[in-house]
């Protein structure tokens, strides 16, 4: 990408109706004069409600790799569905962290290609954040194994995390997006990730799993730092643009 070109530069964007002084009013007139299809938008809700009442779930928790998880978590006997709630959420974080590693891979490639700005991200910082995500993934694998669960299984929440992240992967991996655009998409991931780690720590606490909660606090602190740092990078970029002093360096 040519660093001199920015998405905020003016060019021929053809999507708005005001770009078509003749056809724009004509298409408005055409729509206004034609009858609509009968009914109202509520019709969609009716079909959605009907399906919601008929279909099953996206999926269920897998059987545990061992019986430990069903019988006992750190000495506290728990009801099965509560244990599964914890395992589902641990699986969700594991999936998210693993994809997080790949998001940083793509961000690093983008930074290598485009450079960064004064007090923007550096390769070393992105590499460190990537290492944090990889470490969190490994930690969650160990936690799940110790609980007797299969860390390769996709739990229902992990499956949905994959769907949620799909758009972010698309933005970050697109060679046409700028580093600030990709970081903005990545911020969505960091916001969700940091909040989800907080919820996971709370969940472990609620289960009386003090040792587990303690283990999860370090990743939480790192994810909060990721979130705040990405936010700072983007604010700094915006300030440089407004001040007219933005320069990219390799």
């Amino acid at each position: 990408m040519n660093r001199a070109r920015r998405p905020t530069d003016l060019a021929l964007n053809r999507t708005g109706i005001y770009l078509s002084p003749t056809d724009g009013p004509a298409v408005v007139e055409g729509a206004r004069d034609a009858p609509s299809s009968p009914g109202c938008a509520r019709a969609l809700a009716e079909v959605r409600r009907q399906y919601a009442g008929e279909v099953g779930l996206i999926g269920h928790m897998p059987a545990p790799a061992s019986l430990r998880v069903v019988e006992n978590v750190g000495g506290a006997v728990l009801r099965r569905h509560k244990v599964h709630l914890l395992l589902d959420k641990l699986g969700e974080r594991l999936a998210f962290e693993r994809t997080g590693v790949r998001l940083f891979d793509a961000l690093m490639a983008k930074l290598e290609a485009q450079g960064s700005w004064d007090r923007g991200p550096t390769l070393a910082e992105l590499a460190q954040f990537r290492a944090d995500e990889a470490h969190h993934f490994a930690l969650l694998q160990d936690v799940l194994i110790n609980l007797g669960a299969d860390p390769t299984a996709i739990t229902p929440s992990a499956d949905l995390a994959g769907v949620e992240l799909a758009g972010i992967v698309q933005v970050v991996s697109d060679p046409r997006t700028t580093l600030p655009q990709a970081l903005h998409a990545h911020l969505v991931a960091e916001l969700v990730d940091s909040t989800s780690w907080e919820q996971l720590v709370d969940l472990a606490d609620d289960f009386g799993e003090a040792a587990l909660a303690h283990k999860l606090r370090e990743p939480l602190a790192q994810e909060l730092r990721h979130r705040d740092t990405v936010t700072t990078w983007l604010k700094r970029h915006a300030a440089l643009v407004v001040g007219g002093t933005l320069k990219y360096s390799a």
Binding site: Y51, T99, R102, A106, E112, T122, L123, D159, V163
Partner: protein
Amino acid sequence: MTLDLLREHGTPLARQVFTWKDLVREPISKLDDEAFTRVRLIVGHAVEQAAVRFQHAAVRFGAEHRLLLADIRRVEHHQATLLRWLQPADQSPLECSIAVAQAAVEVGAQIARCEPDPYVAQALRLGLLEDFDHLYRLAALMDRLEGRDANAILQSYTDIRPGRPTAAQHRAPEDDLRRWYDRYATAPATKLHARIAGAIAYQARDHYLDVGPTFADPVARQLYAELASVKEQHVTQCESLLDPAETWLERWLLQEAAEVYLYWGCLSSESNPRVRAVWDRFLAYELEHLRIVRELFEKTEMRDASEVVPLCFSEPLQFAGERAFIREVLAAEADLGAAGTEFVPRDAESRATQSYRAQLERDGSPSETVAAGYRWSPGTELADPRIRDASVLPPLKATGS
């Protein structure tokens, strides 16, 4: 276990009807359903699409009976829709591709193993090892782009390892053509196998073409372009196996017989009761299509249809993992290629193929790039500490600035 094609009754064509709600049912579960339930849906859809394509082509070449073709084709189209719509929305495009490749590998392996004609079996095995490699490359892409594990889709039925390298699969068109079978001398099973393999190849080609541009990542886009090209070769190979002297009615008969054979296998092995009911229903639809075309064939060509299709099927498709067979073929035939209609060691490939391949790969090979150094581990390559903790900084650039 046999299926008597003359005695089994199908559903009358007038009762082969659908509603939009019927077509758009609750999909299977990506997490809970068996991998082979997904595979059956993919192959069923592939064969229905092949039926629709054939019936359109028949009309374009001036075939008579265009009203009957239109009637049956409409049902085949809705069957294809219902099957495709049973795939769930939480299955990403890349996961769908992994599933399509698994279907090509596992069903391809089974028909190659059961194929009675040694030459056709060899052609099917050639395609098998190439699909097997596609699966490995797609798994690498899924791992490295999305951080996801292909085995969650494959459910450990299919190995994730290199086959015949995709980069070595590109052949000049003249080297993708095979000798056709003799319509009079060849076993019906061979005719059906060639059609099913061709349908699966066509489906994968269309799938890669549809899905490839939906990716933003340039490596993904390149890889899909490369895989689609190989699948085009596979379609060429499969089509070239069919005796061109077959009449169009003979081909229609064989197409319907292939659908009956496939659905019977699906019904015999399905574990999901909801999907099993679909196979039961569609088998009855296809038995009627076959009966109608058989009557038309006998009336028009004044020949006994049993000269073309068998009176009964003796063994259904199994839809079971073919790991042992695939490993055996991999060990023996990974280095094979093709020159003209013959199978040859790769170092004996034609100059046309070598030149074609060199041209395509002049700017690099996507399938080599995506899987460079890739070795699958349970839970993705990042589960391997050596990979997870390896430096990702570029050479000679230890820190960013």
